[in-house]
Symmetry: C2
Protein backbone atom coordinates (compact mmCIF):
# COMPACT_ATOMS: atom_id res chain seq x y z
CA UNK A 1 0.00 0.00 0.00
CA UNK A 2 1.20 3.47 -0.76
CA UNK A 3 0.11 5.10 2.49
CA UNK A 4 2.84 6.29 4.81
CA UNK A 5 2.59 5.10 8.39
CA UNK A 6 5.15 5.84 11.06
CA UNK A 7 4.15 2.78 13.07
CA UNK A 8 5.22 -0.57 11.69
CA UNK A 9 5.72 -4.02 13.13
CA UNK A 10 7.48 -7.30 12.48
CA UNK A 11 6.73 -10.66 14.07
CA UNK A 12 9.07 -13.55 14.83
CA UNK A 13 7.41 -16.89 15.58
CA UNK A 14 9.88 -19.32 17.12
CA UNK A 15 9.63 -23.10 17.20
CA UNK A 16 10.59 -26.31 15.38
CA UNK A 17 7.00 -27.50 15.81
CA UNK A 18 5.74 -24.71 13.51
CA UNK A 19 8.18 -25.76 10.78
CA UNK A 20 7.43 -29.48 11.07
CA UNK A 21 3.70 -28.97 10.63
CA UNK A 22 3.04 -30.48 14.05
CA UNK A 23 1.59 -27.22 15.36
CA UNK A 24 -0.44 -24.86 13.18
CA UNK A 25 0.34 -21.30 14.21
CA UNK A 26 -2.56 -19.26 15.55
CA UNK A 27 -0.64 -16.28 16.90
CA UNK A 28 0.24 -14.62 13.58
CA UNK A 29 -3.40 -14.10 12.63
CA UNK A 30 -4.26 -12.90 16.12
CA UNK A 31 -1.43 -10.36 16.18
CA UNK A 32 -2.34 -9.21 12.66
CA UNK A 33 -5.94 -8.48 13.66
CA UNK A 34 -4.95 -6.66 16.84
CA UNK A 35 -2.39 -4.48 15.05
CA UNK A 36 -4.93 -3.41 12.41
CA UNK A 37 -7.14 -2.18 15.23
CA UNK A 38 -4.18 -0.41 16.83
CA UNK A 39 -3.31 1.39 13.59
CA UNK A 40 0.06 -0.35 13.29
CA UNK A 41 1.12 -1.92 9.98
CA UNK A 42 2.37 -5.50 10.32
CA UNK A 43 4.94 -5.58 7.51
CA UNK A 44 6.70 -8.91 7.85
CA UNK A 45 6.54 -12.21 9.73
CA UNK A 46 9.33 -14.73 10.04
CA UNK A 47 9.12 -18.24 11.45
CA UNK A 48 12.41 -19.80 12.57
CA UNK A 49 13.45 -22.95 14.40
CA UNK A 50 14.74 -23.29 17.97
CA UNK A 51 18.32 -22.41 16.95
CA UNK A 52 20.03 -19.46 18.56
CA UNK A 53 21.78 -18.18 15.43
CA UNK A 54 18.55 -18.24 13.43
CA UNK A 55 16.64 -16.39 16.17
CA UNK A 56 19.35 -13.76 16.68
CA UNK A 57 19.71 -13.03 12.98
CA UNK A 58 15.98 -12.70 12.33
CA UNK A 59 15.42 -10.64 15.47
CA UNK A 60 18.20 -8.20 14.65
CA UNK A 61 16.88 -7.77 11.10
CA UNK A 62 13.33 -7.12 12.30
CA UNK A 63 14.10 -4.86 15.26
CA UNK A 64 16.30 -2.61 13.09
CA UNK A 65 13.58 -2.27 10.49
CA UNK A 66 10.26 -1.87 12.30
CA UNK A 67 8.83 0.26 15.12
CA UNK A 68 7.80 -2.80 17.11
CA UNK A 69 8.75 -6.47 17.10
CA UNK A 70 6.65 -9.22 18.64
CA UNK A 71 7.90 -12.76 19.25
CA UNK A 72 6.02 -15.93 20.15
CA UNK A 73 7.35 -19.16 21.58
CA UNK A 74 10.39 -20.61 23.29
CA UNK A 75 9.95 -19.21 26.81
CA UNK A 76 8.87 -22.41 28.59
CA UNK A 77 10.89 -24.61 30.97
CA UNK A 78 12.52 -27.13 28.61
CA UNK A 79 15.95 -27.26 27.02
CA UNK A 80 14.64 -26.18 23.63
CA UNK A 81 13.13 -23.00 25.11
CA UNK A 82 16.02 -20.72 24.23
CA UNK A 83 14.28 -17.46 23.34
CA UNK A 84 15.49 -15.62 26.46
CA UNK A 85 19.11 -16.58 25.69
CA UNK A 86 18.77 -15.65 22.03
CA UNK A 87 17.15 -12.26 22.72
CA UNK A 88 19.88 -11.51 25.29
CA UNK A 89 22.52 -12.42 22.73
CA UNK A 90 20.86 -10.21 20.10
CA UNK A 91 20.96 -7.25 22.49
CA UNK A 92 24.42 -8.13 23.84
CA UNK A 93 23.26 -8.25 27.47
CA UNK A 94 23.34 -10.96 30.14
CA UNK A 95 20.48 -13.46 30.43
CA UNK A 96 19.60 -13.51 34.13
CA UNK A 97 17.07 -15.10 36.47
CA UNK A 98 15.00 -11.93 36.93
CA UNK A 99 14.45 -11.43 40.70
CA UNK A 100 10.83 -10.25 40.37
CA UNK A 101 9.95 -13.13 38.07
CA UNK A 102 11.65 -15.57 40.49
CA UNK A 103 9.48 -14.19 43.32
CA UNK A 104 6.28 -14.44 41.25
CA UNK A 105 6.99 -18.02 40.24
CA UNK A 106 8.23 -19.15 43.67
CA UNK A 107 5.03 -17.86 45.27
CA UNK A 108 2.86 -19.49 42.64
CA UNK A 109 4.51 -22.91 42.99
CA UNK A 110 4.45 -22.62 46.80
CA UNK A 111 0.70 -21.91 46.66
CA UNK A 112 0.22 -24.99 44.50
CA UNK A 113 2.54 -27.12 46.65
CA UNK A 114 4.74 -27.86 43.65
CA UNK A 115 8.52 -27.93 43.49
CA UNK A 116 10.11 -24.79 42.00
CA UNK A 117 12.52 -26.92 39.99
CA UNK A 118 15.56 -25.77 38.02
CA UNK A 119 13.54 -26.29 34.83
CA UNK A 120 10.72 -24.08 36.15
CA UNK A 121 13.26 -21.45 37.18
CA UNK A 122 14.20 -21.21 33.49
CA UNK A 123 10.89 -19.41 32.98
CA UNK A 124 12.20 -16.49 35.10
CA UNK A 125 15.14 -15.94 32.76
CA UNK A 126 15.23 -12.80 30.62
CA UNK A 127 17.71 -10.23 29.34
CA UNK A 128 19.00 -7.98 32.12
CA UNK A 129 17.02 -4.75 32.17
CA UNK A 130 13.81 -6.18 30.67
CA UNK A 131 10.35 -5.10 31.76
CA UNK A 132 7.70 -7.76 32.40
CA UNK A 133 4.63 -8.56 30.33
CA UNK A 134 2.07 -9.85 32.82
CA UNK A 135 0.78 -13.37 32.25
CA UNK A 136 -2.64 -13.81 33.89
CA UNK A 137 -2.97 -17.36 32.57
CA UNK A 138 0.11 -19.17 33.90
CA UNK A 139 2.14 -16.53 35.79
CA UNK A 140 5.52 -16.82 34.01
CA UNK A 141 5.91 -13.34 32.48
CA UNK A 142 6.87 -12.31 28.97
CA UNK A 143 9.29 -9.45 28.67
CA UNK A 144 10.08 -6.25 26.77
CA UNK A 145 13.57 -5.09 25.85
CA UNK A 146 14.08 -2.22 23.46
CA UNK A 147 11.30 -2.44 20.88
CA UNK A 148 11.00 -6.23 21.22
CA UNK A 149 8.02 -7.84 22.97
CA UNK A 150 8.64 -11.48 23.90
CA UNK A 151 5.53 -13.58 24.45
CA UNK A 152 4.55 -17.22 24.90
CA UNK A 153 3.73 -19.60 22.06
CA UNK A 154 0.67 -21.22 23.68
CA UNK A 155 -2.15 -19.28 21.99
CA UNK A 156 -4.19 -18.59 25.15
CA UNK A 157 -1.12 -17.19 26.89
CA UNK A 158 0.04 -15.26 23.81
CA UNK A 159 -3.39 -13.67 23.54
CA UNK A 160 -3.51 -12.70 27.21
CA UNK A 161 -0.03 -11.18 27.05
CA UNK A 162 -0.87 -9.34 23.84
CA UNK A 163 -3.96 -7.85 25.47
CA UNK A 164 -1.62 -6.37 28.08
CA UNK A 165 0.83 -5.06 25.50
CA UNK A 166 -1.48 -3.44 22.91
CA UNK A 167 -2.68 -0.54 25.13
CA UNK A 168 0.95 0.41 25.84
CA UNK A 169 1.84 0.88 22.15
CA UNK A 170 1.83 4.21 20.41
CA UNK A 171 -0.26 3.58 17.29
CA UNK A 172 -0.95 5.35 14.06
CA UNK A 173 -4.34 6.52 12.91
CA UNK A 174 -6.71 3.59 12.94
CA UNK A 175 -6.99 1.92 9.55
CA UNK A 176 -10.50 2.40 8.17
CA UNK A 177 -12.10 0.13 5.60
CA UNK A 178 -15.17 -0.16 3.43
CA UNK A 179 -16.28 -3.31 1.63
CA UNK A 180 -17.95 -3.17 -1.79
CA UNK A 181 -19.55 -6.40 -3.03
CA UNK A 182 -18.87 -6.96 -6.72
CA UNK A 183 -20.77 -9.51 -8.84
CA UNK A 184 -17.83 -10.08 -11.20
CA UNK A 185 -14.73 -12.24 -10.92
CA UNK A 186 -11.17 -10.99 -10.75
CA UNK A 187 -10.64 -11.68 -14.46
CA UNK A 188 -13.33 -9.12 -15.35
CA UNK A 189 -12.28 -6.43 -12.90
CA UNK A 190 -8.48 -6.75 -12.85
CA UNK A 191 -7.63 -4.10 -15.45
CA UNK A 192 -10.18 -1.40 -14.51
CA UNK A 193 -9.52 -1.96 -10.79
CA UNK A 194 -5.80 -1.34 -11.33
CA UNK A 195 -6.73 2.01 -12.89
CA UNK A 196 -8.93 2.92 -9.91
CA UNK A 197 -6.12 1.96 -7.50
CA UNK A 198 -3.67 4.15 -9.44
CA UNK A 199 -6.02 7.14 -9.15
CA UNK A 200 -6.39 6.68 -5.38
CA UNK A 201 -2.92 6.30 -3.88
CA UNK A 202 -4.15 7.21 -0.38
CA UNK A 203 -6.08 3.95 -0.30
CA UNK A 204 -5.22 0.30 -0.62
CA UNK A 205 -7.77 -1.69 -2.62
CA UNK A 206 -7.82 -5.45 -2.12
CA UNK A 207 -9.95 -7.95 -4.01
CA UNK A 208 -11.05 -11.22 -2.45
CA UNK A 209 -12.44 -13.78 -4.88
CA UNK A 210 -15.44 -15.84 -3.90
CA UNK A 211 -16.91 -18.84 -5.68
CA UNK A 212 -20.43 -20.04 -4.92
CA UNK A 213 -20.09 -23.23 -6.98
CA UNK A 214 -21.58 -21.60 -10.09
CA UNK A 215 -19.84 -18.29 -10.65
CA UNK A 216 -17.08 -16.10 -9.29
CA UNK A 217 -17.69 -12.83 -7.54
CA UNK A 218 -15.41 -10.63 -5.43
CA UNK A 219 -15.43 -8.55 -2.32
CA UNK A 220 -13.51 -5.34 -2.83
CA UNK A 221 -12.06 -3.90 0.37
CA UNK A 222 -10.88 -0.28 0.30
CA UNK A 223 -8.59 0.62 3.20
CA UNK A 224 -7.17 3.96 4.21
CA UNK A 225 -6.45 6.35 7.05
CA UNK A 226 -9.10 8.90 6.03
CA UNK A 227 -12.73 8.28 5.18
CA UNK A 228 -12.79 11.05 2.55
CA UNK A 229 -10.12 9.21 0.52
CA UNK A 230 -11.94 5.89 0.95
CA UNK A 231 -15.26 7.40 -0.14
CA UNK A 232 -13.70 8.86 -3.28
CA UNK A 233 -12.20 5.48 -4.20
CA UNK A 234 -15.50 3.76 -3.39
CA UNK A 235 -17.39 6.03 -5.82
CA UNK A 236 -14.96 5.11 -8.61
CA UNK A 237 -15.17 1.40 -7.74
CA UNK A 238 -18.96 1.55 -7.95
CA UNK A 239 -18.78 3.37 -11.30
CA UNK A 240 -16.41 0.66 -12.49
CA UNK A 241 -18.88 -2.08 -11.52
CA UNK A 242 -21.76 -0.30 -13.27
CA UNK A 243 -19.64 0.15 -16.37
CA UNK A 244 -18.64 -3.53 -16.48
CA UNK A 245 -22.30 -4.54 -16.04
CA UNK A 246 -23.37 -2.28 -18.94
CA UNK A 247 -20.61 -3.67 -21.17
CA UNK A 248 -21.70 -7.23 -20.45
CA UNK A 249 -25.35 -6.41 -21.12
CA UNK A 250 -24.48 -4.74 -24.41
CA UNK A 251 -22.40 -7.73 -25.53
CA UNK A 252 -25.22 -10.11 -24.58
CA UNK A 253 -27.68 -8.04 -26.66
CA UNK A 254 -25.31 -7.98 -29.65
CA UNK A 255 -24.96 -11.76 -29.52
CA UNK A 256 -28.74 -12.04 -29.14
CA UNK A 257 -29.21 -9.73 -32.16
CA UNK A 258 -26.90 -11.82 -34.33
CA UNK A 259 -28.72 -14.99 -33.37
CA UNK A 260 -32.14 -13.48 -33.97
CA UNK B 1 18.16 -29.96 15.74
CA UNK B 2 21.74 -31.02 15.43
CA UNK B 3 21.31 -33.47 12.56
CA UNK B 4 22.98 -32.53 9.30
CA UNK B 5 20.73 -32.62 6.26
CA UNK B 6 21.75 -31.58 2.79
CA UNK B 7 18.19 -30.75 1.80
CA UNK B 8 16.67 -27.63 3.28
CA UNK B 9 13.82 -25.33 2.36
CA UNK B 10 12.50 -21.83 2.92
CA UNK B 11 8.99 -20.59 2.28
CA UNK B 12 7.81 -17.13 1.26
CA UNK B 13 4.08 -16.44 1.72
CA UNK B 14 3.06 -13.29 -0.15
CA UNK B 15 0.00 -11.13 0.51
CA UNK B 16 -1.27 -8.09 2.39
CA UNK B 17 -4.28 -10.14 3.44
CA UNK B 18 -2.07 -12.48 5.53
CA UNK B 19 -0.59 -9.49 7.39
CA UNK B 20 -3.94 -7.78 8.02
CA UNK B 21 -5.45 -10.88 9.61
CA UNK B 22 -8.12 -11.02 6.91
CA UNK B 23 -6.89 -14.38 5.68
CA UNK B 24 -5.47 -17.03 7.98
CA UNK B 25 -2.68 -18.83 6.16
CA UNK B 26 -3.17 -22.55 5.56
CA UNK B 27 -0.31 -23.17 3.17
CA UNK B 28 2.59 -22.98 5.63
CA UNK B 29 1.32 -25.92 7.68
CA UNK B 30 0.56 -27.92 4.56
CA UNK B 31 4.03 -27.35 3.10
CA UNK B 32 5.61 -28.18 6.47
CA UNK B 33 3.86 -31.54 6.65
CA UNK B 34 4.69 -32.47 3.07
CA UNK B 35 8.37 -31.56 3.45
CA UNK B 36 8.71 -33.73 6.59
CA UNK B 37 7.44 -36.65 4.52
CA UNK B 38 9.87 -35.78 1.73
CA UNK B 39 12.82 -35.68 4.13
CA UNK B 40 13.46 -31.98 3.53
CA UNK B 41 13.99 -29.63 6.51
CA UNK B 42 11.84 -26.50 6.37
CA UNK B 43 14.15 -24.02 8.09
CA UNK B 44 12.45 -20.65 7.74
CA UNK B 45 9.21 -19.03 6.63
CA UNK B 46 8.69 -15.39 5.80
CA UNK B 47 5.42 -13.58 5.16
CA UNK B 48 5.64 -10.29 3.26
CA UNK B 49 3.18 -7.82 1.76
CA UNK B 50 2.41 -7.24 -1.93
CA UNK B 51 5.38 -4.90 -2.38
CA UNK B 52 8.01 -5.71 -4.96
CA UNK B 53 11.02 -4.63 -2.89
CA UNK B 54 9.90 -6.72 0.08
CA UNK B 55 9.32 -9.81 -2.09
CA UNK B 56 12.63 -9.47 -3.95
CA UNK B 57 14.66 -9.01 -0.79
CA UNK B 58 13.08 -11.95 1.05
CA UNK B 59 13.28 -14.20 -2.00
CA UNK B 60 16.95 -13.46 -2.63
CA UNK B 61 17.77 -14.14 1.03
CA UNK B 62 15.91 -17.46 1.04
CA UNK B 63 17.05 -18.78 -2.34
CA UNK B 64 20.70 -18.15 -1.48
CA UNK B 65 20.37 -19.98 1.82
CA UNK B 66 18.24 -23.08 1.21
CA UNK B 67 18.11 -25.96 -1.26
CA UNK B 68 14.52 -25.18 -2.22
CA UNK B 69 12.25 -22.17 -1.93
CA UNK B 70 8.45 -22.32 -2.16
CA UNK B 71 6.24 -19.27 -2.55
CA UNK B 72 2.48 -18.87 -2.20
CA UNK B 73 0.26 -16.06 -3.42
CA UNK B 74 0.23 -13.13 -5.81
CA UNK B 75 -0.15 -14.96 -9.14
CA UNK B 76 -3.80 -14.08 -9.84
CA UNK B 77 -5.19 -11.59 -12.39
CA UNK B 78 -5.41 -8.38 -10.33
CA UNK B 79 -3.10 -5.39 -10.04
CA UNK B 80 -1.81 -6.48 -6.64
CA UNK B 81 -0.73 -9.86 -8.03
CA UNK B 82 2.92 -8.93 -8.59
CA UNK B 83 4.73 -12.14 -7.71
CA UNK B 84 5.73 -12.90 -11.34
CA UNK B 85 7.24 -9.40 -11.68
CA UNK B 86 9.03 -9.62 -8.35
CA UNK B 87 10.49 -13.09 -9.02
CA UNK B 88 11.66 -11.91 -12.46
CA UNK B 89 13.32 -8.88 -10.85
CA UNK B 90 14.98 -11.09 -8.22
CA UNK B 91 16.48 -13.27 -10.97
CA UNK B 92 17.21 -10.30 -13.26
CA UNK B 93 15.25 -11.71 -16.19
CA UNK B 94 12.30 -10.42 -18.23
CA UNK B 95 8.73 -11.11 -17.08
CA UNK B 96 6.93 -12.37 -20.18
CA UNK B 97 3.53 -13.72 -21.20
CA UNK B 98 4.65 -17.35 -21.45
CA UNK B 99 3.44 -18.71 -24.83
CA UNK B 100 2.48 -22.15 -23.50
CA UNK B 101 0.58 -20.64 -20.57
CA UNK B 102 -1.19 -18.24 -22.98
CA UNK B 103 -2.30 -21.23 -25.08
CA UNK B 104 -3.52 -23.18 -22.03
CA UNK B 105 -5.52 -20.23 -20.72
CA UNK B 106 -6.88 -19.16 -24.13
CA UNK B 107 -8.20 -22.69 -24.73
CA UNK B 108 -9.73 -22.89 -21.27
CA UNK B 109 -11.56 -19.56 -21.56
CA UNK B 110 -12.69 -20.42 -25.11
CA UNK B 111 -14.15 -23.70 -23.83
CA UNK B 112 -16.02 -21.78 -21.14
CA UNK B 113 -17.14 -19.03 -23.53
CA UNK B 114 -15.43 -16.41 -21.40
CA UNK B 115 -13.38 -13.44 -22.55
CA UNK B 116 -9.59 -13.95 -22.26
CA UNK B 117 -9.20 -10.44 -20.84
CA UNK B 118 -5.98 -8.50 -20.28
CA UNK B 119 -6.39 -9.18 -16.57
CA UNK B 120 -6.68 -12.93 -17.17
CA UNK B 121 -3.64 -12.80 -19.47
CA UNK B 122 -1.67 -11.59 -16.43
CA UNK B 123 -1.92 -15.16 -15.13
CA UNK B 124 0.28 -16.34 -18.03
CA UNK B 125 3.12 -14.03 -16.98
CA UNK B 126 6.29 -15.55 -15.54
CA UNK B 127 10.05 -15.05 -15.66
CA UNK B 128 11.51 -15.92 -19.06
CA UNK B 129 12.88 -19.46 -18.98
CA UNK B 130 10.57 -20.79 -16.25
CA UNK B 131 9.12 -24.27 -16.24
CA UNK B 132 5.41 -24.77 -15.47
CA UNK B 133 3.84 -26.25 -12.35
CA UNK B 134 0.59 -27.82 -13.57
CA UNK B 135 -2.62 -26.51 -11.98
CA UNK B 136 -5.38 -29.12 -12.25
CA UNK B 137 -7.82 -26.93 -10.31
CA UNK B 138 -7.98 -23.69 -12.28
CA UNK B 139 -5.48 -24.12 -15.18
CA UNK B 140 -3.24 -21.04 -14.65
CA UNK B 141 0.15 -22.65 -13.97
CA UNK B 142 2.67 -21.97 -11.25
CA UNK B 143 6.29 -21.86 -12.29
CA UNK B 144 9.81 -22.93 -11.35
CA UNK B 145 12.92 -20.84 -11.89
CA UNK B 146 16.24 -21.84 -10.36
CA UNK B 147 15.42 -23.38 -6.97
CA UNK B 148 12.25 -21.29 -6.54
CA UNK B 149 8.78 -22.86 -6.87
CA UNK B 150 6.03 -20.28 -7.30
CA UNK B 151 2.52 -21.43 -6.40
CA UNK B 152 -0.94 -19.98 -5.86
CA UNK B 153 -2.22 -18.64 -2.54
CA UNK B 154 -5.68 -20.24 -2.70
CA UNK B 155 -5.17 -23.33 -0.50
CA UNK B 156 -6.84 -25.85 -2.83
CA UNK B 157 -4.69 -24.67 -5.74
CA UNK B 158 -1.53 -24.47 -3.62
CA UNK B 159 -2.11 -28.03 -2.46
CA UNK B 160 -2.70 -29.34 -5.99
CA UNK B 161 0.43 -27.61 -7.29
CA UNK B 162 2.47 -28.87 -4.35
CA UNK B 163 1.34 -32.44 -5.05
CA UNK B 164 2.85 -32.00 -8.52
CA UNK B 165 6.08 -30.52 -7.18
CA UNK B 166 6.95 -32.85 -4.28
CA UNK B 167 7.74 -35.94 -6.42
CA UNK B 168 10.21 -33.90 -8.50
CA UNK B 169 12.33 -32.88 -5.46
CA UNK B 170 15.45 -34.67 -4.43
CA UNK B 171 14.91 -35.34 -0.72
CA UNK B 172 17.01 -36.45 2.18
CA UNK B 173 16.39 -39.57 4.21
CA UNK B 174 12.85 -39.54 5.49
CA UNK B 175 12.61 -38.12 8.99
CA UNK B 176 11.56 -40.87 11.40
CA UNK B 177 9.87 -40.25 14.73
CA UNK B 178 8.76 -42.07 17.86
CA UNK B 179 6.37 -40.66 20.46
CA UNK B 180 6.79 -41.47 24.16
CA UNK B 181 3.90 -40.49 26.44
CA UNK B 182 5.14 -38.97 29.69
CA UNK B 183 2.93 -38.52 32.79
CA UNK B 184 4.90 -35.49 34.03
CA UNK B 185 4.78 -31.82 33.04
CA UNK B 186 7.60 -29.87 31.44
CA UNK B 187 8.64 -28.40 34.79
CA UNK B 188 9.49 -31.88 36.09
CA UNK B 189 11.26 -33.17 33.00
CA UNK B 190 13.03 -30.06 31.68
CA UNK B 191 16.42 -30.59 33.29
CA UNK B 192 16.80 -34.39 32.85
CA UNK B 193 15.41 -34.18 29.30
CA UNK B 194 18.08 -31.61 28.38
CA UNK B 195 20.69 -34.14 29.53
CA UNK B 196 19.16 -36.89 27.41
CA UNK B 197 19.09 -34.57 24.38
CA UNK B 198 22.76 -33.70 24.92
CA UNK B 199 23.69 -37.41 24.94
CA UNK B 200 21.79 -38.06 21.69
CA UNK B 201 22.85 -35.42 19.17
CA UNK B 202 21.67 -37.53 16.21
CA UNK B 203 18.09 -37.01 17.38
CA UNK B 204 15.87 -34.04 18.04
CA UNK B 205 13.68 -34.41 21.12
CA UNK B 206 10.61 -32.21 21.34
CA UNK B 207 8.21 -31.99 24.27
CA UNK B 208 4.56 -31.08 23.79
CA UNK B 209 2.71 -30.15 26.97
CA UNK B 210 -0.82 -31.35 27.49
CA UNK B 211 -3.28 -30.32 30.18
CA UNK B 212 -6.34 -32.44 30.94
CA UNK B 213 -7.89 -29.84 33.26
CA UNK B 214 -6.33 -31.43 36.36
CA UNK B 215 -2.68 -32.07 35.68
CA UNK B 216 0.00 -31.51 33.07
CA UNK B 217 1.56 -34.31 31.08
CA UNK B 218 3.73 -34.29 27.96
CA UNK B 219 4.22 -36.10 24.72
CA UNK B 220 7.88 -36.54 23.94
CA UNK B 221 8.65 -36.85 20.24
CA UNK B 222 12.06 -38.17 19.24
CA UNK B 223 12.96 -37.45 15.61
CA UNK B 224 15.91 -38.62 13.61
CA UNK B 225 17.14 -40.02 10.32
CA UNK B 226 18.02 -43.46 11.72
CA UNK B 227 15.91 -45.72 13.87
CA UNK B 228 18.93 -47.02 15.82
CA UNK B 229 19.66 -43.49 17.10
CA UNK B 230 15.99 -42.92 17.92
CA UNK B 231 15.75 -46.22 19.81
CA UNK B 232 18.83 -45.37 21.89
CA UNK B 233 17.35 -41.98 22.82
CA UNK B 234 13.98 -43.60 23.54
CA UNK B 235 15.56 -46.02 26.04
CA UNK B 236 17.14 -43.10 27.91
CA UNK B 237 13.89 -41.13 27.86
CA UNK B 238 12.04 -44.11 29.34
CA UNK B 239 14.72 -44.51 32.04
CA UNK B 240 14.32 -40.81 32.80
CA UNK B 241 10.56 -41.18 33.25
CA UNK B 242 11.00 -44.20 35.57
CA UNK B 243 13.57 -42.32 37.59
CA UNK B 244 11.32 -39.26 38.01
CA UNK B 245 8.44 -41.52 39.06
CA UNK B 246 10.63 -43.24 41.69
CA UNK B 247 11.83 -39.88 43.03
CA UNK B 248 8.27 -38.66 43.38
CA UNK B 249 7.19 -41.86 45.13
CA UNK B 250 10.12 -41.67 47.55
CA UNK B 251 9.36 -38.02 48.39
CA UNK B 252 5.71 -38.88 48.95
CA UNK B 253 6.73 -41.69 51.34
CA UNK B 254 9.15 -39.41 53.22
CA UNK B 255 6.42 -36.82 53.71
CA UNK B 256 4.05 -39.61 54.80
CA UNK B 257 6.72 -40.88 57.24
CA UNK B 258 7.24 -37.47 58.79
CA UNK B 259 3.53 -37.00 59.27
CA UNK B 260 3.04 -40.46 60.73
Amino acid sequence: MSMANTFTAGMLAIGDELLSGRTKDKNIGRLAEMLVLAGIDLKEVRIVSDEQDAIVEALNALRARYTYVFTSGGIGPTHDDITADAVSAAFGVACIHDPDAMTLLAEMYARRGMEFSEARKRMARMPEGSRHIANPVSTAPGFIIGNVHVMAGVPSVFEAMLDNVIPTLEGGAKLLSVTVPCPFGEGDIGTPLAAVQKNHPATSIGSYPQFDGVKFSTELVIRGREMIAIDAAKADVEDMITSIAMDKEQKAQEIGGQVA
